[in-house]
């Protein structure tokens, strides 16, 4: 980074630290904060979509769909995250490769399962083993997003299911009295009003999601906790910047980051609650109405 960094062993004090904090490994560490933020920003809406779908399925009038919705929420909520994370991406990855194998190598004769080995023809690999490393990383990242979305979607489905039930019956009755169809009443009356009931539960999920990112490393995605542990560990003189065990400082840095993120989330969520309570038949909505009057 700086011109005087070429020989770290001759450096001392501040210039040593400046070079140390800007070496390639630290750059990867700083980059991983971006990875985590991107993961959160993609996963949250995806999980919400899964949750919404699950909740609709769980209250569907069509029995098999209702079973599906119920089974999804109760099964996924019951499985430990870590087991889920070891299973889903492997299963997804192998499922995709199996399909590609069937499509691209029809005359392949050897079995796909050979003992514990999973062998598909090389053009069916996903991604191809010749693709550059970033493709592999992006692919792993999206498998992770999908696994997160499925897990958190199940929790969100339960929250939304409860929220849909919490909308006062009188509101739906009024909609019916106005001659709205079920579909109209659902989209125009129920959905706009349910969010305020869902928000406390969803905000909990968001907070848990923020803290769940270290699970990423199980999938080979290097997140901030991985880098903090890797960088903080004691380094002997085989490294250019030897130092004793500094994990405490790195984890303190992470603590600040997570607390900051929590604070920011709380600010956004409280504003959102305020906005959503506007004109609602809830205590908060009532209070706003009285304050305005």
């Amino acid at each position: 980074m700086f011109s005087y960094c070429s020989d770290p062993s001759s450096l001392e004090g501040f210039s040593w630290l400046a070079c140390y904090l800007t070496n390639g490994k630290h750059m990867a560490f700083y980059g991983s904060f971006g990875v985590v933020m991107v993961l959160l920003l993609i996963t949250a809406p995806a999980a919400l979509a899964f949750g919404f779908g699950g909740a609709i399925a769980a209250r569907s009038a069509f029995l098999p769909l209702r079973w599906f919705g119920k089974a999804y929420t109760s099964m996924v909520r019951g499985i430990p995250d870590i087991a889920f994370f070891l299973f889903v991406p492997f299963a997804l990855d192998q499922g995709i490769e199996w399909l590609r194998h069937k499509a691209k190598c029809p005359d392949w004769e050897e079995p796909i399962r050979q003992g514990s080995d999973f062998v598909v023809c090389s053009v069916a690999k996903m991604p191809l083993s010749s693709s550059p490393q970033w493709v592999h990383e992006t692919y792993g990242f999206f498998l992770a997003v999908l696994a997160f979305a499925i897990v958190f979607g199940a929790f969100a489905a339960n929250v939304l299911f409860g929220a849909m039930k919490a909308v006062p019956r009188a509101q739906m009755e009024t909609a019916e009295a106005y001659g709205m169809t079920d579909r109209q009443a659902f989209w125009r009356i129920l959905v706009p009003q349910m969010w305020v009931y869902a928000l406390p539960g969803l905000s909990n999920l968001w907070m848990i999601l923020i803290k769940a990112t270290p699970l990423l490393f199980l999938l080979g995605v290097e997140d901030i906790v991985y880098w903090a542990r890797e960088l903080g560990g004691a380094k002997t003189s085989i490294f250019a910047y030897p130092h004793p065990d500094w994990r405490l400082y790195y984890f303190l840095g992470l603590l600040v980051f997570y607390l900051g993120l929590t604070k920011l989330s709380e600010m956004v969520l409280s504003r959102l609650t305020y906005r959503l309570s506007h004109g609602q038949a809830t205590m908060a909505g009532d209070a706003q109405r009285k304050a305005a009057a």
């Binding site: 070496n23 390639g24 070891l86 050979q114 080995d117 083993s129 490393q133 080979g220 002997t236």
Partner: protein, 239 residues
């Protein structure tokens, strides 16, 4: 003339197709200096990096390096996320049932205990070792309380902060740490494992033959010995 050009173009295409197929993904842990570690530029470095690159050059393979957590390093190999494990993995009978090994590129050596207090109780105390290693298996059999960690670095940290009485690991992993910190050797070394080899899928016989041939050629011309001494010092066993 036209035919010749077409022929050449075809040949060039098949050649590039073949080389695209030949990328061998080398899986390593990246947390076990001096065997393999992530250097300050964020790249895989160490004895196994230098050795792996040389083996790939001799076997005329294009290789790419990938890091993976030790815990899931075998599952990811057998499901095909990379093609070799080159991560200081000792050849043992249990592992050999699941994956295949090339011949050893690092001779069988001792595993050793290191502790702050030289009077540490190795048979009845708390001993730190990395999960899923032959050392962890050995400690579990000695009667000592085994304290397992996911990374090698954490096993050493556990001794320094008093959580464990001693750490048990490959002698060559501990040697630089003992030399540079207040840890000291305790007790006798224990010969464990059958040397270190490259781990491969059992269905990958062709790749195994290539790497075996490359290792043999490095053993014969002495380059492997030079490399071993460069990374592990003069006392290392050679071929």
């Amino acid at each position: 003339m036209k035919k010749l050009m077409l022929g050449t173009a075809l040949l060039a295409m098949t050649a590039s197709f073949a080389s695209a197929q030949d990328v061998v993904r080398m899986g390593t842990e990246g947390a076990y200096p001096p065997y393999n570690f992530i250097n300050d530029n964020g790249e895989v470095d160490g004895f196994e990096r230098e050795l792996g690159d040389e083996l790939c050059a001799r076997a005329e393979l294009t290789c790419e390096w990938v890091t993976n957590e030790w815990d899931s390093i075998i599952p990811n190999l057998v499901s095909g996320n990379y093609d070799t494990i080159i991560a200081g993995m000792s050849i043992t009978a249990e592992r050999d049932e699941v994956i295949d090994f090339t011949q050893d590129y690092y001779p069988p050596t001792e595993s050793s205990y290191a502790a702050i207090d030289t009077g540490a109780d190795l048979k009845g105390g708390v001993i730190a070792a990395q999960t899923g290693t032959i050392q962890a298996g050995y400690v579990a059999e000695t009667g000592a309380t085994l304290l397992e960690f996911a990374t090698p670095d954490e096993t050493v940290a556990a001794v320094k902060n008093g959580e464990a009485d001693a750490v048990f690991a490959d002698k060559d992993f501990l040697a630089p740490i003992v030399a540079e910190s207040d840890l000291e050797w305790v007790g006798e070394g224990v010969p464990l494992g059958g040397g270190i080899g490259l781990g491969l899928r059992e269905s990958d016989a062709e790749l195994k033959t290539k790497f075996d041939a490359a290792i043999t050629s490095m053993k014969e011309d002495g380059t492997l010995n030079t490399m071993l001494q460069k990374w592990f010092g003069e006392e290392i066993g050679t071929y």
